[in-house]
Amino acid sequence: MTYIFDGSLQGLLTAVFEWFERKPGKAVLKSTEIFQPEAFVESFTVATDAEKADRVWAGLQKKLKKDSLRKFYCSYLSEIPEAYHHLFQFCIYIFQNQAGSESNYGNEHVIAISKYAKSVEREKHRMEAFIRFQKTGDGIFYAGIDPDFNVLPLISNHFKNRYADQQWVIYDLKRKYGLHYNLNTVEEITISFSHGINKQNPAPVLMDESEALYATLWKDYFKSANIVARKNTKLHLQHVPKRYWKYLTEKAPV
C-alpha cells in the first residue's frame, strides 16, 4: 500500500490520520513529487485536511516531549523523501505505544528521525555561522543563501533576537523565498530580482559606501589570525566545506 501526500506538513499529518481511520496494514508514504505508480501496489491519495492534521499534531504534542517534537519538525524540513516515510511510521509507532517510546533508539524510525534532525540542526547552525550580511545602499543588511535543507523557519528567531536594531533580509535563493525583519516583525517575502543581478553578491554600486571597507578589513583579519606554522588544510575543509565558501566574505577573491 502506498500513501501519497502533497509534500506539506499538514498533508503528512493527515496521512497519519487516514491510516488510523483505515488501518490498511503496512503502508509506505511518498510525496506526489516522487510517486510513480507501480503495478500490483495499491495506492491511496491523501487529501490534505487542516482539521485532521491539527488533531494528529495535538496528539503528538501530548505524547512527545518538546525536543522530540522539534526533531520531528526538523526532519520534515529536511525535505528528504525517505524522511517523510520515517516520520509517518514514527507517528504510527508513537500512537501505538506507551508514552516515552520516543527514546527507544533501538527502533529504526526513532533513530532515523534523530539522524535527520541532527543534519538539519547542523545546517541551521551553519547558516547562523556562515551567513554574511552586506549593507545595501538603503541600509538593509542582505544575505542570499541556498541551504541544503529548508532552514529559514528555524533561524528566524535567532536573527531577530540578535539584530533587533537593523533591518535585514535573508533570502533562500533555492526555495525562492526569504525573511525580512522590519525592526518589529519578521515577514516572509519573495523578491523579484532585476534581470542580470548577482543575487549572492549584488554589485558594489548597490551597496552602502562603508561595505567595501569592512569587507576588506574582515578579509585582512582572517589572514592575520592564521598561524602559518600550524597550517592544516584538511581540518579547515572539514569545518568549512567548500560548498559554503561562496557565502563567506573572507573567502571572496580580493
Binding site: N104, I111, H125, D165, K223, I227, K231, N232, H236, T249
Partner: protein, 418 residues
C-alpha cells in the same frame, strides 16, 4: 585613513593570535534593550582559519607596545617589530561593524602593557563601557585581566565583560621564571581569585535581590603554552586540574608553542609546533570534564606522559582490562562512558534505548557507536562468543592496525612527529 586602519588591524590581530581561546560560549546576555546582539549559550564559530582553528571573536590587542620582555611573546619589549595602537573608537567601530555583518560573536580584547597595569586596564575598560553603554551592544566580550591592575578596575570591568581570562603562560612556576623572570604565577592567581570571589558574591546576591547586574557570566579561563619549557604531560594536567578546582575555571587552553625567537632556552625557529601533543592534552581535559575521569587515573608517576599513538581513553582502557568487557545492557552509565568508541551522546542513547529491550550490534552501530573499536571492550545481546582473553597490548595492536590508514590520512601534521 583606510590604509592606516588596515595596517593597525594587521599588526594587532597578528600579535593577538597566539592566544588560542576563541570560545564565545557560556554567555547569557539577552538583547533586552532592542540594541545589537545577544549571546548564544553554546557559542558560534563563524569561520575557521586555514590552520583549522575556530574564529568566533574579533581577537585583537589594543596595543602591542609592552614594557615587559617575556621571551615567549612576540610583543616583548626587545623584539624588533612594528608597533601600533588602536584608539578606543576604532575598536568600537570595528566591533560594531563586524558584528552587524554576522562576521563575529563578539570581541576578545587584550593588550600589551604600556606605562603600567592600571593605565592599560583603564583603556580596556573604556572600550567595553562604550560598547555596552553608548552603543547598546549585547554581543560577547572576552576581556583580558591585566596582572597587577587594581581591584576596583577589575571589578568594574567584570560588570561589562562576559568572560575574563589571564594566562598562566607556562605550566609551572619554574618554567615561567626561566622565560619571564619578572613574572610569577602569583600575579595570575591573585586576580583569578579576586574575580572568582566576586562571581560567587554576585551569584549569592542574585538569590536574595532580583536586580543584581551580571558579573563575568561566562566565567574565567586561562592558557598554558606547551612545549616551550620541558614540563611533562603530568605536570601540565595536574596544574590544569588544580586551576579547574581552585578557581572554577570554565576552560584551560593548551597552546602548542610556535617558535618566534632565536633564544637558546626555547625550541629553535622552524621547529614544528607540538600539535599532536596539544591534541592529546585536550582529550585528557575532556575526559576530566565530561567523562568522569580523575586526572590521576590518566597520568601518574608510572605514566607521566600521554601515549602518542593512541588517545588517552583507549590508553586507560588497555591499562585497566580488569574492568572489561562491559555489558552494554546492564552496566552503569558511568562505566559505559569509559568504553573506547562510545561518546557521551551514544552513551545516553544506549541507556535510554535498553529500557525497551536488550540491544544488538546493529542497533549499537546505528546509535553511533564506533563498533570496531568498542567491540574489544563490550558484550551485548548478540556478541560473538569469545574463546580467548586478549591482552591489552594485543587489542592495541588490533586497533592500531585497523585505524592506521585512517590515522595517517587525517592529519598531515601528526605524521611528521613519527
Amino acid at each position: 585613513m583606510s590604509d592606516r586602519i588596515r595596517e593597525k588591524l594587521n599588526i594587532l590581530a597578528d600579535a593577538a593570535k597566539y592566544d588560542v581561546s576563541c570560545s564565545s560560549s557560556g554567555g547569557t546576555r539577552k538583547n533586552t534593550n532592542k540594541g545589537l546582539g545577544d549571546s548564544h549559550s553554546s557559542g558560534i564559530c563563524h569561520t575557521y582559519t586555514e590552520d583549522g582553528r575556530c574564529v568566533s571573536l574579533l581577537k585583537i590587542l589594543l596595543t602591542n607596545h609592552c614594557i615587559y620582555d617575556c621571551l615567549f611573546c612576540v610583543s616583548r619589549k626587545s623584539n624588533d617589530i612594528k608597533r601600533a595602537a588602536f584608539t578606543v573608537d576604532e575598536v568600537v567601530e570595528l566591533t560594531m561593524n563586524f558584528y552587524r555583518r554576522n562576521y563575529i560573536e563578539g570581541l576578545f580584547l587584550s593588550s600589551g602593557i604600556f606605562k603600567n597595569a592600571d593605565f592599560t586596564m583603564e583603556r580596556l575598560l573604556l572600550v567595553v563601557k562604550k560598547l555596552r553603554l553608548e552603543q547598546n551592544y549585547n554581543g560577547y566580550i572576552h576581556l583580558k585581566t591585566i596582572p597587577g591592575a587594581s581591584d576596583e578596575l577589575i571589578k568594574e570591568a567584570g560588570l561589562y565583560a562576559d568572560r575574563m581570562s589571564i594566562n598562566l603562560e607556562m605550566p609551572t612556576e619554574a618554567g615561567l621564571k626561566l622565560l619571564a623572570p619578572e613574572k610569577s604565577h602569583k600575579d595570575v592567581i591573585k586576580p583569578l581569585e579576586f574575580v572568582q570571589q566576586q562571581i560567587t558574591q554576585f551569584t549569592a546576591d542574585k538569590k536574595l535581590i532580583k536586580h543584581v547586574p551580571k558579573f563575568v557570566p561566562a566565567g574565567q579561563s586561562t592558557q598554558m603554552v606547551i612545549g616551550a619549557t620541558p614540563e611533562s604531560d603530568k605536570d601540565i594536567m595536574y596544574t590544569a586540574n588544580a586551576f579547574y578546582k581552585n578557581f572554577a575555571l570554565k576552560r584551560v587552553y593548551y597552546s602548542g608553542y610556535v617558535p618566534i625567537s632565536n633564544d637558546t632556552r626555547m625550541p629553535i625557529l622552524g621547529t614544528q609546533p607540538p600539535l599532536l601533543r596539544e591534541n592529546r592534552l585536550y582529550q585528557t581535559d575532556w575526559l576530566m570534564r565530561f567523562y568522569g575521569f580523575k586526572v590521576q587515573e590518566i597520568l601518574n608517576d608510572a605514566n607521566p606522559n600521554l601515549d602518542v599513538d593512541i588517545d588517552p581513553k583507549l590508553s586507560w582502557a588497555i591499562r585497566n582490562m580488569q574492568h572489561f568487557p562491559v555489558d552494554i545492557n546492564t552496566a552503569d552509565y558511568k562505566m559505559i562512558l569509559r568504553i573506547p568508541g562510545i561518546g557521551v551522546m551514544s552513551a545516553q542513547k544506549i541507556v535510554q534505548a535498553r529500557k525497551f529491550g536488550k540491544l544488538r550490534i546493529d542497533q549499537l552501530k546505528k546509535i553511533g557507536v564506533a563498533y570496531n573499536r568498542a567491540k574489544h571492550f563490550i558484550t551485548c545481546l548478540d556478541s560473538p562468543y569469545q574463546l580467548k582473553d586478549y591482552q591489552g597490548t594485543q587489542i592495541k595492536a588490533f586497533i592500531l592496525a585497523e585505524s592506521q590508514s585512517k590515522y595517517l590520512k587525517t592529519d598531515s601534521n601528526q605524521m611528521i612527529l613519527f
